[in-house]
Symmetry: C2
Subunit: 254 residues, 2 copies
């Protein structure tokens, strides 16, 4: 987390209108580990209690947002700036998807560059004079028939891409605090016992089909990726059902 804090993208909101959106943007930033927020001439002034409330506490945990009069001032110390834009403006400037921007930001930050991401006002987006100052356009692919993202949602996508660039969470994992996955010996033991019990109880009406039926049952159980605890639980289920049947048989006999 340390180098994320020391060199990470700066989020710059240009003339944002609603304090709620500034607050929700701050929350989305901190959700993604981003803490450097700059505001260019927010319409309703600053600081703002409404922004604080909408941030769910994020603004209290981040450095105070920096205020600037112009976009040029707000990006003066940065080396590379992405301008988010939903519409193409027929400017000759590279257009990155979120995924491309993620890889590009990661490479630039690793090279020691300071990068920033510009977001325009809710109603208009970034104006051409702001886009002109940026090195690249960042355009998140969206539904072409309904493409306009809420400001804080756009900030979230930028932060999410940034976070994804350095995230090392295994894409698929188990929370195995309670019990480790069963090993094949446990599974084989369970399957052997199950087949034997089923045989004794006349489950396999057609002996020819027994191998096929057992393969289907094996596949079902293997798909479940049982834990050691699950195997024990299922052994208990077999015993209980046997007992129930035996009691029932006994009952019928009695």
């Amino acid at each position: 987390m340390n180098d994320i804090l020391t060199n990470q993208p700066v989020i710059i909101l240009v003339t944002p209108q609603l304090h709620e959106n500034i607050g929700m943007s701050a929350r989305a930033m901190l959700n993604c580990g981003l803490i450097h927020l700059r505001l260019v001439a927010p319409r309703d002034g600053w600081p703002s209690e409404r922004a604080g409330a909408a941030s769910s506490g994020a603004l209290d945990l981040m450095p105070e947002p920096q205020l600037f009069a112009t976009t040029a001032d707000a990006i003066a110390d940065l080396n590379f700036v992405y301008a988010t834009s939903g519409r193409l403006r027929h400017m000759v400037k590279p257009i990155y998807t979120g995924i491309a921007a993620r890889d590009d930001m990661k490479a630039r930050v690793a090279n020691g560059e300071r990068v920033g991401i510009l977001f325009g006002a809710e109603r208009t987006g970034l104006l051409n004079d702001d886009l002109m100052l940026a090195n690249a356009i960042l355009n998140f692919p969206t539904n072409p028939d309904f493409s306009s993202l809420n400001l804080s949602q756009a900030v979230l996508l930028a932060g999410y891409e940034w976070l994804s660039a350095s995230d090392t969470t295994p894409p698929r994992r188990y929370d195995t605090i309670q019990s480790p996955p069963a090993n094949m010996e446990e599974m084989n033991f369970l399957m052997t016992r199950l087949e034997s019990e089923l045989e004794q109880h006349g489950f396999f009406t057609s002996p020819n089909l027994q191998p096929t039926v057992m393969r289907n049952i094996q596949n079902m159980f293997r798909r479940a990726e049982m834990t050691s605890q699950d195997v024990q639980t299922f052994q208990g289920i077999i015993s209980a059902l046997q007992g129930a049947k035996m009691k029932k048989v006994q009952g019928n006999q009695g």
Copy 2:
């Protein structure tokens, strides 16, 4: 877009509290091309004018959200359900990152499975009895010290991953409606002319260093990835500056 509409993930909000969040979730869904919204016992009833306003028109463009009394009812017709959860609950259930869920959803939908994604109430998230019904947990990696996403932000991330699964936008592109990229012949012609003009104007004070200086200049120009129009513009700049210098020289002479 057609198969996205016919078989796409269903978004299920379980006991959502704020109509604004339902509306913003709908907007985020439609931003990502998702149109199937189900609501389980929304706290403040349904329909809602506030949700409509917060959706920026999305709710008017989507099929009417379906209302259900229980989570089990809301997912009854689905084949595979992901439950979003920010906290681990020590349940033995596979946990997917957003990226893994994207690939998994894509594969399942391609196989004709109907998938859904559950989202819990703002304050509590999904309860264990809801999580139990799901096949997998979907956990977007976030800042561990500030991990709680706004409901509509979590919906956006799910939709964004879904959209990314089928998006074919080139990761980096130019909007080259105005002018195509220059070809190497145009670039070479510009560089040759520039070097020749600089030579005539005594720019290269040390002839030994001329090749090195020209390499640096070439690198600078090649990085700019100029368009044909840019090359013509720069030819004009050279001519103009020459003219300026010549006038200045004439002025000095006069």
